[in-house]
Amino acid sequence: MIRIEGVSKNFGSKKAVDSVSFQANDKEILVVLGTSGCGKTTTLKMINRLIEPDSGNIFIEGKNIRDQKPEELRKNIGFVMQHAGLFPHYTVAQNIAIVPNLLKWEKQKIQSRILELLEKLSLTEDMLKVFPHELSGGQQQRVGIARALIADTPVLLMDEPFGALDNITKSAIHNEFKNLDELKNKTTILVTHDVVEAFELGHRICLMDKGQLVQIGTPAEMLYHPINSFVKDFFGNNRLMLEYKIASLKLVESFLKKPLSLKAQQQLIKEEDIWETLQVLSTENVYTEDYEALLQAFNQYRKLQTV
């Protein structure tokens, strides 16, 4: 659990972060969302003391981070950067093993942990010996994630981790990332300017603007109960798609007048969102009825949300 209390940071006369307070719970992915210059990255970097706040306190698992040596603190926090930030003179294997080597793990333990992560992040063993520049952007980012995960820290910080990837690579990684069991018992804070990414990955979203926190809540709360017009307008562009994305089939199911066809039920996953589900159904003509029924049910569900 990470608790941020009234944290501020000025760069010269500019207020980069202005008394921000929020909390990231255990086992959740909290997305800090905002446009460039809103202070989201500064906030993130204050958590592992890459930037020292001017005022306010940050607690991890109840302990004030100022009471620890920065190096020790950072070894207990995984960090993923926008451009992977791999060491160009280290092989992929050496890159992944940086923190365990700092922690003086045994070679055997490091090796087996690397292999475990390779598997989970769809990397192959032959990549271990190559240097980062020989990998694609997506692969580099996976290596960057592996490096952040290897020490199994309780906290993971991610600074626009998928920002440099193309859309197709990005959505593939999103899917894998969401389902990564490594994240299950971590507190993850992810910074992004990408609204869709925030909705796809975040359990909760913390929207920032001009150094201040505007609203924090679940994706549904952000969409259906915006506290002001800024929040409403922020999601205005992608509103319809986002609405489909935050409702799961499980939630909407109860609004169906009659159950979906057996064939469709076999094909679909209950936890999948309506956007994905409709996409599956729209691919084949036999699902036309199911598609329409689901649309109707979603509209019923939606009416209740906006009240």
């Binding site: 950072r74 070894k75 950067m81 060491f87 160009p88 003179h89 940086i98 700092l102």
Partner: protein, 524 residues
């Protein structure tokens, strides 16, 4: 005339000396380079940490680099004496700038994203430096070392001025002795060393970190070993430390004559005449090969040993000029001859003393002298053709050049241009032959021994008498080069062995024969 040697013959006959010089050269280069690395890299790291220091540190290193190398060597003498130490320190100073600058550039040029990543992963400053910044800056740092190495191979040739050996002994000896083979025997290996070093370091630059480290250790240990071996082993203990110029070393009327006529085998250091007197004065050297009219003899209280077996031929100074030039400038010969017979040895020593020790300009010294003899006339500012006067690179020649300039400007309507400070006999003489200058003051002995290259027999015969020498060179120069020797100025600036007066008295040495006896008694 003796048979002309080919370059190959010269190298074969001198190969032992050549090997020693190459060894010394490598030793000087590597040792200084190693020290420069040990000083430069930490300094580079320091200023990349504290950027405020970067401007003063890089500025200072830059200024040191622009100090002319011979001047820098000169500064070193009072502090570090002569031999390998001042040479290595001077070379170290030259190698510093590229190493510091490239370390600084390399480390500050590391991608900040990578540094941030290293910090975020929990590395402390030291780990970041050695695991990230230093390895990533390595190619640039090595490029700096490469530059420094090539610079040092070049500058190390000047080490011969302070008796530190190296290929400069052949190069500068060759220039003084008008011996092209000798110059090439020094210059070609020096150039090859530079190219080879550049290639080797360039290869290391491309190789990976691990082989690099191994190669670095190997090179360092070899360098230190050879350096120490050559630099310090070739200088055995001596009771009387002799320092001779490269020119003196290779001449019949120099070290060769001392050996054959006097049986004096001193194993001397090779040293530049620019620093030799001061080194003798400070007791770093006991015996030097000076010139009999040098002002520093007076200043440093040195005493000239009598040449009782006359191996040093007379060196009467007189302008030499092409016959066709004399025809081109009517009246010039008479003007130049105004000076003939006007300056004897003691006057010349005094004039030299004024420039060298009292730091008067050659111009002032020349004018004062001409005025006192009633020879000075104000300049005509005529608009005739320009006469170019050359001079060698020592005080006396500067004064003579100034005197001739004033005389020509006062007595004729020609314009004058002086090209002073031409490196040595060969450079001056070549400039004259190629019409880059019109005349310069030369010495009969030099003409006889260096320029004409005669057999030992002829030299012995001719050099017994100053008049004979003058007549002989006058005749031969006319025949071989169509050059005229004008009337002698009067003084005889011959080679001379000299010691500190106090020491000479103590050891009861006043002639070269006595010196030779003393040395024989004390088993050299």
């Amino acid at each position: 005339m003796t048979q002309e040697q080919t370059l190959w013959q010269f190298i074969m006959s001198q190969h032992e000396k050549l090997l020693v010089q190459i060894g010394q050269h490598l030793g000087l280069t590597f040792l200084s380079l190693l020290l420069a690395i040990l000083v430069g890299i930490p300094l580079g790291i320091l200023i990349s940490r504290r950027r405020k220091l970067s401007a003063p540190v890089l500025g200072t290193a830059g200024i040191l680099q622009t100090v002319p190398s011979i001047a820098l060597l000169g500064f070193m003498i009072p502090m570090f004496g002569i031999g390998a130490t001042p040479a290595i320190i001077a070379l170290l100073i030259y190698a510093l700038l590229p190493i510091i600058r490239n370390t600084y550039t390399g480390i500050t040029g590391v991608d900040p994203v990578v540094i941030e990543a290293a910090t975020a992963l929990g590395m402390n400053k030291t780990q970041r430096l050695f695991k990230v910044e230093f390895p990533l800056a390595m190619p640039i740092i090595i490029a700096g070392i490469r530059t420094a190495a090539v610079i040092n191979v070049g500058v190390a040739t000047l080490a011969s001025f302070v008796a530190a050996g190296g290929l400069g002994e052949f190069i500068f000896g060759g220039i003084s002795l008008n011996n092209t083979n000798m110059i090439l025997a020094g210059a070609i290996p020096a150039a090859l060393l530079a190219v080879l070093l550049d290639l080797i370091i360039g290869y290391l630059q491309k190789s990976t970190l691990k082989t690099l480290r191994i190669a670095f250790y190997i090179i360092c240990s070899i360098a230190v070993a050879t350096g120490i071996y050559f630099i310090f082993s070739v200088q055995p203990e001596r009771k009387i430390i002799a320092g001779f110029t490269p020119e003196f070393m290779g001449r019949q009327d120099g070290d060769l004559g001392l050996r054959s006529v006097y049986g004096l085998k001193l194993n001397p250091l090779v040293v530049s005449d620019a620093i030799m007197y001061e080194a003798a004065y400070q007791g770093k050297l006991d015996l030097i090969s000076g010139y009999s009219t040098d002002g520093r003899i007076k200043a440093f209280d040195l005493v000239v040993l009598e040449d009782d077996k006359t191996i040093f031929p007379p060196y009467y100074a007189a302008p030499i000029i092409k016959t066709k030039t004399l025809k081109k400038f009517p009246g010039l010969e008479e003007t130049l001859n105004l000076l003939s017979g006007k300056i004897n040895d003691s006057i010349m020593t005094d004039l030299n003393y004024k420039t060298e020790l009292l730091k008067q300009t050659p111009e002032k010294v020349a004018k004062d002298f001409l005025v006192s003899r009633g020879l000075y006339k104000n300049a005509n500012h005529g608009n005739g053709e320009t006469i170019r006067i050359g001079s060698k690179i020592f005080g006396e020649q500067y004064i003579l050049a100034e005197m001739y300039k004033m005389l020509i400007e006062g007595y004729t309507h020609y314009k004058v241009e002086t090209k002073t400070g031409l490196g040595g006999t060969k450079i001056c003489f070549d400039a004259l032959m190629n019409d880059a200058i019109d005349f310069y003051p030369e010495y009969t002995g030099t003409g006889l021994l260096v320029l004409l290259k005669l057999s030992e027999q002829t030299i012995k015969e001719v050099s017994k008498d100053s008049k004979k020498t003058y007549d002989y060179v006058q005749r031969e120069f006319q025949k071989q080069y169509q050059l005229q020797w004008l009337k002698p100025i009067g003084f005889n600036n011959a080679y001379a062995l000299m010691m500190r007066r106090v020491q000479a008295k103590q050891l009861h040495i006043s002639t070269i024969s006595e010196l030779s006896e003393y040395c024989a008694k004390n088993k050299f």
